[in-house]
């Protein structure tokens, strides 16, 4: 019984990290973009584009090429978003909504055209789990943290690196200045378009990475709409993480845990527990955190604002 319980829990932790991995990529990118003052509702579109890009790339030249193609596809979507929001100064929310529709439609069309309506199940080469010797045999957390695909380990480096970059480098400072007070930033000699475009492109690349991870490290196949709202979830994660990279990484784990509860309940034989309600918990929590933080006080002050 105890052995069952600990198996269930370590399975739950493993699933938590697995669900959290693509979310963390997308959310860390969005975090940087929002700190630069740009909220990107088109993230969902970049994720699904990344997923299709990864499928095509991996089909041609293997998983590594898949990751490159996924990132490139996410970047491409971000270029379009940056063109409208940063260069044409169009409304970010409206543009983001359109970009998501565009990418969902385009990926669906391309996929169905190539693989047929209804389609044969298409399988893609995937990257396997890379267990870290020693660490992966730690009790409870060993398998969860150290028996994952290599991309997960990349996040262990990336999250602190972004935190350091944002806090300590000129680029990071310029990015945050654009999000807090673009007028002052411009007076200080920061080039607004350069900073915001870079931030948006970084977010697009990371969203593409998230899509590639879904295909190449998890599903092993592409399915229409497989981004399944993760772009919007990433925005919730950024808010819950209070626009700080390490907070964002922790919040991604929380959303991953809510998703993984399903596996825990199944392992424990509690099929009757309504896990849908647990899936809603992180969103409720995000709203509470926002209300408690005074909403705007915590967000970058110029977030979503159009420059005149």
């Amino acid at each position: 019984m105890i052995a069952d319980g600990s198996n269930a829990i370590s399975g739950f932790l493993e699933a938590t990290v697995r669900y959290a991995t693509p979310l963390a990529f997308a959310a860390l990118g969005e975090c940087v973009s929002e700190r630069a003052g740009v909220i990107n509702i088109g993230l969902e579109g970049a994720i699904i584009a990344g997923a299709l890009g990864a499928t095509v790339g991996a089909g041609i030249a293997g998983p590594a090429a898949g990751f490159v193609a996924g990132v490139a596809a996410g970047l491409l979507i971000a270029v379009l978003f940056a063109l409208f929001t940063v260069w044409l100064r169009a409304d970010q929310i409206i543009t983001g909504t359109a970009i998501t529709m565009l990418a969902l439609g385009l990926t669906g069309t391309l996929y169905r055209t190539v693989y047929g309506v209804g389609g044969v199940a298409l399988s893609t080469p995937t990257v396997g789990v890379l267990a870290v010797p020693g660490l992966s045999s730690l009790p409870f957390v060993g398998r969860a943290l150290f028996a994952q695909p290599a991309v997960t380990y990349l996040l262990y480096v990336l999250a602190p690196l972004i935190a350091w970059w944002m806090a300590r480098t000129h680029g990071g400072l310029a990015t945050r200045a654009m999000g807090e007070s673009p007028e002052a930033a411009i007076v200080a000699g920061i080039r607004p378009r350069l900073v915001q475009t870079s931030a948006v492109l970084f977010a697009g690349a990371m969203a593409g990475m998230a899509g590639a991870t879904l295909v190449l490290a998890q599903a092993g196949t592409f399915a229409e709409g497989m981004s399944a709202g993760r772009g919007f979830i990433a925005i919730a994660i950024v808010v819950l993480g209070r626009w700080r990279p390490l907070g964002v990484a922790a919040a991604a784990l929380l959303f991953g845990a809510a998703n993984a509860l399903q596996t825990l309940f199944q392992a424990m034989g509690w099929e009757q527990v309504p896990y849908q309600l647990f899936l809603a918990v992180p969103y409720v929590l995000t709203l509470i955190v926002l209300a408690g933080a005074g909403g705007r006080a915590a967000a970058p002050k110029a977030l979503g604002r159009r420059r005149r």
């Binding site: 669906g108 069309t109 169905r112 309506v117 919730a236 849908q276 969103y283 209300a291 705007r296 979503g304």
Partner: protein
Amino acid sequence: MNTLARSMVLALVALAVLVALLVSTGHAPLPALSALANGAFGSTYAVSSTLVRAIPLALAGLAVAVAFRAGLLNIGAEGQLLIGACVATATGALLPDVPRVLAVPLMLGAGALAGAGWAFIAAELRRRFGVLEVISTIMLNFIAIHVTGWLVRGPLQEPTHIYPQSASLPVSQQLPMLIPGTRVHAGVVVVVLLAIGLWWWLRESASGFRLRAVGMNPFAAASAGQISVSRTMVGAFLLSGALAGLAGSVELTGVTYALYENFSPGYGYTAIAVALLARLNPLTVLGTAFLFGALEAGAGAMQRNAAVPSVVVSVVEAALILLVVAADQLQSRAAQRAEASV
């Protein structure tokens, strides 16, 4: 450019986008386009399918338009629509033996109230805590999706507990059909009346004026017009939520007759496009909703008869929004430049 010329140019460019997509994915454009047109307008039944698709899009489009007019970016029509459908279903389940003349209005009213209530959460979060509605309504959409998922597997599940959906509505809880032999239900009358009413209200009434004034410039409205900005915003949010909730309960009582997961194929998001393309004018919303209804009804036929994936229409819809946005931006910047050079 006047509105008509502008719409023509937009329609032509959208058509060009569609043709380019068809050609680049190896489909013959003519048979595909004729299947699309036939599916949307080719028969009485086709037109009725278009109308039926347009109804929820128009109601949710009105919801988005009202909020945007007040300067509120309500991305939450999807969630408000779902909660409206949930509460309408629950109301029906609680009142099994009520006659139709009473049951249907009660269900629609309950759905509208529920949508308003769901929007009120975002309104209060904004008013009391300054939480951006763009973010809160996204959260509320997801909460609504999961609440729906739970209801159709829990309290509202059909009696045999096999399928994740509610029991089918009895005839006494269905909106009557307007034209026999088609799918057009009485909801179409509700939509048209509401659009005209909203258009008149925004144009002519004092409260409608206050809403527009707050949307244009909240600071000026507050200082020069002595308008209570927060009260107007909450009011606009409630109205917007009620319209979206109504969209959900009309779809339930007029088309699906049951609640299930994925009850809305993203009506609340498409509604953003519907409202924007209509330039937030309630009367024009009827037109753009009809256009989108035709695209989506035609897309199904195109997929069946010309093997073209139906999702191509989302690309066309997205292209339309981006075109409008780009045209607006270029125009306003040209105006700015002209002003600067004087």
